[in-house]
C-alpha cells in the first residue's frame, strides 16, 4: 500500500498530474490555487481529482497517507488530508495552509490513526 500511495505523491511532487482520458475535454476546475513543490500551479479541484485513486484504496491506505499530512508543501498536505477525510469521515481541526502548525497536524494524524485502529480488520495469523 505504501508503494501505491507514495507513487501518487511522488508524481505530484514532480508536478506530474493525471492526464484526462484521450479525446476528452475537461470541464472547468475550481478552488483556490496552490503550488506543488516543483512550482506547478494547481487548483483545489485538481488536487481532489488527484486524491481519488487514493480514496479508492480505502481504509488500508490510511497508515500510508498519514506521513504526507506533515509534508512541507501545502498542496501535498491538502491532497493527503482530503483523502483521509473522505476515507474516514473524520474532519479534525486543521489549518492546512499554516506551515508552522505541525502540532495541529499531529493532532489530526492522531485522530485518523485512532480511526484506523478502531476500524481495521484484524488480520488472522
Amino acid at each position: 500500500m505504501h508503494t501505491q500511495v507514495d507513487a501518487v505523491f511522488g508524481r505530484l511532487e514532480q508536478g506530474r498530474l493525471s492526464q484526462p482520458p484521450a479525446g476528452s475535454f475537461p470541464g472547468p476546475s475550481s478552488g483556490w490555487e496552490a503550488k506543488l513543490p516543483d512550482g506547478t500551479m494547481v487548483v483545489r479541484s485538481t488536487l481532489q481529482d488527484e486524491a481519488r485513486p487514493l480514496i479508492a484504496l480505502g481504509a488500508d491506505a490510511v497508515p500510508s497517507l498519514l506521513p504526507w499530512v506533515q509534508h512541507a508543501n501545502a498542496a501535498i498536505r491538502y491532497t493527503a488530508t482530503f483523502a483521509l477525510e473522505q476515507i474516514t469521515g473524520e474532519h479534525p481541526e486543521l489549518a492546512v495552509f499554516d506551515d508552522a502548525d505541525r502540532d495541529g497536524r499531529a493532532r489530526a494524524i492522531a485522530v485518523w490513526q485512532r480511526w484506523y485502529d478502531a476500524h481495521r480488520v484484524p488480520r488472522r495469523g
Binding site: 470541464g27 477525510e85 479534525p92 493532532r107 485502529d117
Partner: protein, 293 residues
Amino acid sequence: MFERGKRAGEVHGGASSRGDIAPGRSTLSQQLAAPAQHETRSEASKVSAPERRSLEGGASPDAGALPDGNAASRTVPAAGGDISIARLFPGATARKALDRDGDASGFGPPKKNGSDGGGDAAIGGAEPQQAAPQAKKKKAGVDSFTVDWAKGVIIDPTAAKLRLDYNAKFKKDDDHDPALAEFRQNAGGKWEITDGPHKGAKGSSPLADDNYSRVDDLHGNKKTDQLFYSNDNPGWGIGQLDKDDVLDYEFTAEQMVIDTSDGNKVIAKRGPHTATIKGKSPRVHGNVPKKLG
C-alpha cells in the same frame, strides 16, 4: 472529473458528510481537539480505547509523529468551557460557570437547604444540590463578510477564469465564539464550446455545496481566529482551451456563514451571483467586478 458539489460521504459511500453532526454525540476529533477547538465537521462512530499502533514511516518525509508520542494519553483540557467540553463533561461546564461567578473555591458560606434551612444531610442522605448556574451558551456572529467577484488573474488566450475572494470577520465576545462559525459555498454552472477546435463540448452542474469550509483558509487562520480568507478560481487554466474556442460559460455561487451551534443556521449570506465568460480570445467577462456584502 471530480464532480462539483460531491459531498464527503458520497465519494466512498461510508463516511458521513460535513455538517451532519448529531447533537450530543462527540467525535474522535472533538475528544482529541486542542483546548480552543470546538466542532469538527463530521460524524464518526465512537471508538473504544483502541490498541495503540505506531505510525508507519516509509520513504515519505516527516512521518507523522505525535507531539507527545502517545495520542491515547491525551486528555481534553478541563478549562475549555465550550460546546465540545460541555458534551463530554457536563460538570466541567458548570464548574466553568462557577469560576466565572467568582465562586470557584467551594469554600464559601454554607448554603441552607430549603427556606427554613432545616435540611439534614446526615439523616436525609445526600445534600440536595442547588441547580448549577448554566454556562452562557455562545453562538456564532459576523462582524463583516464580503465576496468580491472579478476576472481571473490569469491573462492567457488558452485560459478563462473568474476570481472570487472571500473575507469574513467573526464576532468574539461574551456572546459569540468564532469557532462556532463555518463557511459554506454552493456553486454550479453550465458551459459549452459553441465553435472552434473543441466545438460541442459542454457540461453543467447544479448549484450545490462544493465543500468549502474554514479549513480552506489561505492565510492559515484557525477556527478560533476571528478572520477568514479564501478564494475560488473557477474556469479553465492555461493550456486547457484553444484560443479559438468560442466559450459560453456561466458560473453561479452563493456563500454563507453558518452557526454550528444552532443547527447550521445561516447567519450571513452573499449571492447567489452569476458571472459569465463568453466568446473566443480575447473573451468577454460579464457581471464582474462585483462586490457583495
